[in-house]
């Protein structure tokens, strides 16, 4: 059993986990109120895997994740305000309201994004790591992905390339036992995912992803191996999401008793018990951590709610960088006006009209806000 860190570090771990838990609960609530749209994938139950990992990463290490990454950004230090604002689709969100829940991003904290395509982030991780290697930097890229992604072609291709080129990547499988609604033993021929990359020359280790101390210790050791030996490694963290795959998941594929069983292993409650038993933290500390999380999340909702919607005129901005080599682009070639010389900000009338009609729909009664998209995502 890994040892408890000092009081300061323990408070930090507790604070981050409480923040993620509270944030996700509130995100779910705001989704029910239709403040957040699209799909919403919550990480309640997976806090120890996230926080344990980020707590042993260096500031200049890269982190890249999936479509379930509100918590990863929070753990990296992205303000809750900005993450919540992104869920609300506001201009102040991490992606200015263009990405949404599945595409949180914070380059400043080297959180290189959440990605909506299962397995799509694996090659990107190898690319980030290649950049570090290319520049002789000793930064490591941590690539987190789900058990389902281990079945994609990207998994095999990326493991092979990363091992072949000795790229400094730590692949971390967040094995929450389900690829959406399909259980591990029904979607993967090899269910011990720690061995799944062995054929590509990458050894792995299975750890208890519900225990933040074990995650810290084991991931920390793997990180240093990757950093010092310059080769990829793999960790499979057993974890569990209490909520459905997304908010639109009726959860017909698992028993309530299974969820209850995992709740017994709750990463936050167990960590609190341990800290209090060993006298590292007091009940007051715990209370304070929870209160702070409550306040932070409450403020985030207020911030998001009060933040402006993205400006319609910005619809075409950030699509291209207009530079010396690409001096112009047609915002919309259907425009009858001359095309050359157009920039995002001088969108022609036609493009403006399109944006205006979009606004009319967004502001009006939208029946789709009432009936949520289907389970399939």
């Amino acid at each position: 059993m890994a040892e408890l860190p000092d009081r300061q570090e323990s408070l930090e771990l507790l604070g981050r986990m409480c923040l993620i838990r509270r944030f996700e609960e509130e995100a779910g609530r705001q989704y029910q109120r239709a403040k957040a749209g699209g799909f919403l994938h919550l990480a309640i139950g997976e806090e120890a895997t996230i926080v344990g990992t980020t707590s042993v990463m260096r500031e200049d290490d890269y982190l890249i994740g999936t479509y379930r990454t509100h918590g990863h950004a929070l753990a990296r230090g992205t303000p809750a305000n900005e993450v919540m604002a992104e869920l609300f689709g506001r201009q102040t969100g991490t992606s200015g309201g263009r990405g949404g829940s599945m595409h949180i991003f914070d380059a400043g904290r080297r959180f290189m994004g959440g990605y909506g395509i299962v397995g799509g982030n694996l090659p990107l991780a190898a690319g980030l790591a290649l950049a570090s290697q290319y520049r002789d930097e000793d930064t490591v890229t941590v690539c987190m992905f789900g058990d389902g992604a281990s079945n994609t072609g990207n998994f095999g291709e990326t493991m092979n390339l990363a091992a072949l080129w000795k790229l400094p990547v730590l692949f971390l499988v967040e094995n929450n036992l389900y690829g959406m609604g399909t259980s591990l033993e029904r979607h993967s021929a090899v269910t011990d995912l720690s061995h799944k990359a062995a054929g590509y020359g990458i050894e792995g280790e299975r750890i208890d992803g519900m225990n933040v101390l074990e995650v810290r210790e084991r991931v920390g050791e793997h990180l240093e191996t990757v950093r010092s030996e310059g080769r990829p490694s793999l960790v499979e963290a057993f974890t569990y999401r209490y909520r459905g795959h997304s908010a639109a998941d009726p959860e017909v594929y698992r028993e309530k008793s299974e969820v209850e069983e995992w709740r017994e292993k709750d990463p936050i409650e167990n960590f609190i018990r341990l800290c209090c038993d060993q006298g590292v933290l007091s009940d007051d500390d715990v209370e304070a951590a929870r209160r702070e999380a409550d306040e932070t999340v409450e403020a985030a909702v207020k911030f998001a709610d009060e933040s402006p919607e993205p400006a319609l005129e910005s619809l075409y901005e950030e699509l291209y960088v207009v530079s010396e080599t690409m001096g112009w682009y047609a915002v919309d070639e259907r425009s009858p006006e001359p095309h050359r010389g157009e920039l995002g900000e001088d969108a022609p009338e036609l493009a403006r009209d399109l944006a205006e009609s979009g606004a009319a729909h967004a502001d009006g009664e939208d029946p789709e806000q009432q009936s949520r998209p289907g389970v399939r995502d």
Binding site: Y62, I64, S95, G96, G97, R98, G99, H103, F105, D106, A107, M112, G113, Y115, G116, I117, G120, L122, P123, L124, A125, A126, G127, L128, A129, L130, A131, S132, Y134, G153, N154, E157, T158, N160, L161, L164, W165, E317, E318, L319, Y320, V321, S323, E324, T325, M326, G327, W328, Y329, A330, E333, R334, P336, P338, H339, R340
Partner: protein, 341 residues
């Protein structure tokens, strides 16, 4: 000026940019030891070494994805996909990642990379190795699409692509690698995106042709002049996104007729898009319906005779031009449009 083959011009572009900028590197299948499936990267491994000329496993989606990740971290990858056919395996990384990332993350990160890919038919390679996918990539917002037809343009456009901050799909034509042309010397000879070339001036009809079809269009124009007394203006757009529509529209307004020549499929093709744009914006100037000359709407057959029938030639262009000048439709045929399908 130096006379270079297309493949040499492309190689020189990469070499010059690599000498200029340490962050530029090349990766792809067989680009190093083998020196490129079409010998475009010949000699680069010797000069730049394995760190910057990287042979990859056959893993198209991951090669492109690694390029995207490296570009996000500030490098400037030039990814070679052995052919456009194999780029289908990398579509997720090209569309969902390279093209989408800058926009979906609100410009907080850029993807300055080039994805080179040769395509086109004519070598009896059959259905899976003869594709023309200009239209496919043209459709994706966030991508730039280059399709040079001369060695000079190829070099200047590739240099611009490497320096550009946006992801670039750089389409080459396998049949053009060997053609020779005058290439201006000078490190900073670049060609900006969105500037079409008027290959031949004319007054009766505008012919727009891309890649190999730019050459077919030019030869057809010469024959039209000689045999039919028709003065055709030939335009090579050189880049499809952005597209120099202004130059094309100005020409059509002068000639009042337009014929578009491409090797790709007719449905939703480059010609379909361009003819719509011309119709929308220069309808009042048109004396005849815009004509498209395209590849046949089939998977490329192996048989030499059938393959040649499925690829546009000068006579198809001439037929289409005559149709615009006579106000009649061209006879139905394998490669003059979508037919009744």
């Amino acid at each position: 000026m130096a006379e270079l083959r297309m493949r040499e011009a492309l190689r020189d572009a990469m070499a010059e940019e690599m000498r200029r900028d340490e962050s530029v590197f090349v990766m792809g299948e067989d680009v190093g030891v083998f020196q490129g499936a079409f010998k475009v990267t010949e000699g680069l491994l010797d000069e730049f070494g394995e760190k910057r000329i990287r042979d990859t496993p056959i893993s198209e989606n991951t090669i492109v994805g690694v390029g995207v990740g490296a570009a996000m971290a500030g490098l400037r990858p030039v990814v070679e996909l052995m052919t456009v056919n194999f780029s289908l395996l990398a579509l997720d990384q090209i569309v969902n990642h390279a093209a989408a990332i800058p926009y979906m993350f609100n410009g907080n990160v850029r993807v300055p990379m080039v994805i080179r890919m040769p395509g086109g038919g004519g070598h009896q390679l059959g259905p899976t190795h003869s594709h023309s996918f200009e239209a496919l990539y043209l459709q994706v917002p966030g991508l730039l699409v280059a399709c040079p037809s001369t060695p000079a343009d190829a070099k200047a456009l590739l240099k611009a692509s490497i320096r550009d901050e946006n992801p670039v799909i750089f389409i080459e034509h396998e049949s053009l690698y060997g053609i020779k042309g005058e290439v201006p010397e000078g490190e900073d000879e670049i060609l900006r995106f969105g500037e079409a070339a008027i290959r031949r001036e004319g007054s009766d009809v505008t012919i727009v042709g891309i890649l190999k079809m730019a050459h077919v269009a030019e030869r057809a124009a010469a024959e039209l002049e000689e045999e039919h007394g028709i003065s055709a203006e030939v335009i090579d757009p050189r880049t499809l996104r952005p597209l120099d529509l202004d130059t094309i529209l100005a020409s059509v307004k002068k000639t009042n007729r337009a014929v578009i020549v491409e090797e790709g499929w007719p449905h939703g093709g480059v010609g379909a898009n361009l003819s719509t744009l011309i119709t929308e914006q220069a309808f009042d100037y048109l004396d005849a319906p815009v004509q498209r000359v395209t590849g046949a709407d089939v998977h490329m057959p192996y048989s030499r005779r059938m393959e040649q029938a499925a690829i546009p030639h000068e006579e198809n262009v001439i037929e289409a031009v005559l149709a615009t000048t006579e106000g009649a439709f061209p006879p139905a045929g394998g490669n003059s449009g979508e037919g009744d399908s």
